[in-house]
C-alpha cells in the first residue's frame, strides 16, 4: 500500500470558542497507481482532507504515511492540482511548468527539456511562450497538470480540477487525464462533487458523509476503461452512488 491515511480527524475552532468537526476518523489505503476519488456534498470536508494529505493543513489527530514513511508537511513525492487561479500570470506557459523544477534547483537546459516533454504530453507545445491569460480554462488546467507532473511525483492530488470548466471541456479533460494516468501510472487522489466524474474516472470512490466527514462507503468501480457514460452498467453504478449521496443530503 502506497498512501495510507490512518484515523484522520480535523476540527476547526470558531471565533466564539466552539469547535466544528470537519473530518472524523478517515482511514484509507491507496495502492500504487490507483485512481481514487473522494466524493461528497459541499462542506463534507473533502477538500480539507486533500489539503491535509498535501501538507497544507495539519490534522487534529491521525497520521499519513507514504510507503511506510510518516508525512508531515508538503512532500516532494506529491503534487497538487488546484481548481483554478493556480498558474502564475507573470510566467509563460513553459515557465509555469518549469516552476517546480526551478524550486528544486535544476539547471535551465535540463528543466526546459523536461518542460517541453510535459507540454507535449498535454498537447500544448505550440503554446509554450503564451501567458495564462491567453489560454482557455481547459488549457490552463492542462498546464497545471503538466506543472505537477514535471516534478515526477508518485502521487497526484487533484482538488476539483475540472470544476470550473464547461461540461464539454470537462469531459475531454477527463479522457485526457485517464490517458496520462495510463501512460505515467501515477497514484491519483481526486476530489470531486460530481458523481458522474467520479464513476467515469475512478478505480474506487470514497463517499463521505456531510459534516463531520466520515467514510460512508467505498465503492469499487470494476468497469473496464474507456468507460461509456451511456453504458447500462455505468448508469447503474452512477445511480447506486447517487442514491448514497442523495440519501445523506436528505438525512442531514
Amino acid at each position: 500500500m502506497a498512501l495510507v491515511l490512518d484515523s484522520i480527524s480535523k476540527s476547526f475552532s470558531l471565533a466564539d470558542g466552539s469547535t466544528v468537526d470537519a473530518l472524523s476518523g478517515i482511514s484509507l489505503a491507496v495502492a500504487d497507481s490507483e485512481f481514487v476519488s473522494v466524493l461528497g456534498p459541499s462542506g463534507c470536508g473533502k477538500t480539507t482532507l486533500l489539503r491535509i494529505v498535501a501538507g497544507l493543513e495539519t490534522p487534529t489527530s491521525g497520521t499519513i504515511t507514504l510507503d511506510g514513511e510518516r508525512i508531515a508537511g508538503p512532500s516532494p513525492r506529491m503534487a497538487m492540482i488546484f481548481q483554478e487561479y493556480s498558474l502564475y500570470p507573470w510566467r509563460t506557459v513553459i515557465d509555469n511548468i518549469e516552476f517546480g523544477l526551478e524550486i528544486r534547483g535544476m539547471t535551465r537546459e535540463e528543466r526546459k527539456k523536461r518542460a517541453i516533454e510535459y507540454l507535449d504530453l498535454v498537447g500544448l507545445r505550440d503554446f509554450a511562450g503564451r501567458f495564462p491569460y491567453e489560454l482557455s480554462g481547459g488549457m490552463r488546467q492542462r498546464v497545471a497538470v503538466a506543472r505537477a507532473l514535471a516534478i515526477d511525483p508518485a502521487i497526484l492530488l487533484m482538488d476539483e480540477p475540472f470544476g470550473a470548466l464547461d461540461a464539454q471541456t470537462r469531459n475531454r479533460l477527463q479522457r485526457e487525464l485517464l490517458d496520462i494516468w495510463e501512460k505515467t501510472r501515477k497514484t491519483v487522489l481526486f476530489v470531486t462533487h460530481s458523481v458522474d466524474e467520479a464513476v467515469y474516472l475512478s478505480d474506487r470512490i470514497v463517499v463521505l458523509t456531510p459534516r463531520p466527514g466520515r467514510i460512508r462507503e467505498i465503492v469499487p468501480i470494476g468497469l473496464p476503461r474507456p468507460r461509456e457514460r451511456t453504458d447500462v452498467e455505468f448508469a447503474r453504478i452512477r445511480r447506486y452512488v447517487l442514491d448514497h449521496v442523495e440519501n445523506m443530503a436528505d438525512t442531514r
Partner: protein, 254 residues
C-alpha cells in the same frame, strides 16, 4: 494620435498670444516669443539671470528627487512586504502610519529645517516623506493581494519561505508596487519644487522660478513651469511603458 488630443493645447497657445498682445504687460503675461527662446536653448545660461542653465537646474532637481525617491523606495518596499506578510507587524506599524500619512509633506518643512538645517538633507527629507506613503501602502496592498493558491502551489512543490518570497510574493505584488512607485514619484516631483523654496537653496527648477519672480521675469517663470511639467510627464510615461510591458497580466489573473 487623434487630432482632438492636440486641439486644446493649440487653442490655448493661440489664446495666450492674443491675450499677451492685448494685455501688453510682460509681467502679467509674457508673449510666446519671450518664452520660446528660453525653452529651445536649455543649455544656455544667458536667459536665467546667472543661476545656471535650465538644463543644469533641471539636473539638480532630478538628482534631489532621485535621492529622496530612492531612499523612500529602499525603506517603503521592504517595510511594506513585511507588513503585507505579517499580521502582527502590520498591526504594530499601522496606527503610526495612519497618523503620519495625512500630514502633507510640506508641513514637515519647519521640522526638517530644525533637524537637518538648511541644505540638501532637508530637501531630500521632504521628498522622502512625499514618496514614502504611496509606495508603502501600495506595497502592502500588492503583497496582501497575492493569491493564496499561488503561495500554496509553491509550498506543495517544495518551495522554501525565501523562494516563496522571491518567486511568488514579489512578482505577484510587483504591478501594485509599481503603481506605488509611479504615484510616489509624481508626489516627489511636486515636492521638490516647493522644497527648493526653502531658504538658503540656490539651484533647481523650483528655486529658478521663484528667483525669476523676484526679478519680474514672468517669461522665465513660465519656461521653468513648462520644463517641470515636461519632465514629470516624461518620467510618468516611462513608468507607464514599463507597466504595459511587464505587468500587462494585471487584472487578468485566472
Amino acid at each position: 494620435m487623434r487630432y482632438q488630443r492636440v486641439l486644446l493645447p493649440i487653442i490655448l497657445v493661440v489664446a495666450w498670444e492674443i491675450a499677451a498682445l492685448a494685455i501688453n504687460n510682460p509681467f502679467i503675461l509674457p508673449s510666446l516669443e519671450t518664452v520660446v527662446p528660453i525653452l529651445i536653448n536649455p543649455f544656455s545660461a544667458s536667459f536665467t539671470l546667472g543661476t545656471g542653465s535650465l538644463a543644469e537646474n533641471a539636473a539638480i532637481s532630478i538628482e534631489r528627487v532621485g535621492l529622496g525617491f530612492l531612499l523612500a523606495t529602499a525603506i517603503a518596499i521592504p517595510l511594506g512586504v513585511l507588513m503585507g506578510r505579517s499580521r502582527a507587524l502590520n498591526d504594530f506599524f499601522d496606527s503610526l502610519i495612519e497618523i503620519l500619512r495625512p500630514i502633507p509633506p510640506l508641513a514637515w518643512v519647519p521640522l526638517a529645517l530644525a533637524w537637518f538645517k538648511i541644505g540638501l538633507t532637508s530637501i531630500v527629507f521632504i521628498i522622502f516623506i512625499g514618496a514614502f506613503f504611496p509606495i508603502l501602502l501600495n506595497t502592502i496592498d500588492g503583497v496582501k493581494g497575492v493569491k493564496k493558491t499561488w503561495i500554496e502551489v509553491a509550498t506543495t512543490l517544495g518551495a522554501s519561505e525565501r523562494q516563496v518570497l522571491l518567486k511568488v510574493v514579489l512578482p505577484g505584488a510587483a504591478p501594485t508596487v509599481w503603481t506605488g512607485l509611479r504615484v510616489g514619484f509624481g508626489i516627489a516631483w511636486m515636492c521638490v519644487v516647493a522644497a527648493e523654496w526653502l531658504p538658503g537653496i540656490s539651484r533647481g527648477l523650483g528655486y529658478l522660478i521663484l528667483y525669476a519672480y523676484n526679478f519680474g521675469q514672468t517669461n522665465l517663470i513660465i519656461a521653468g513651469m513648462v520644463v517641470i511639467g515636461l519632465i514629470g510627464l516624461a518620467i510618468d510615461l516611462v513608468f507607464k511603458k514599463v507597466e504595459k510591458k511587464w505587468f500587462s497580466w494585471r487584472g487578468l489573473e485566472r
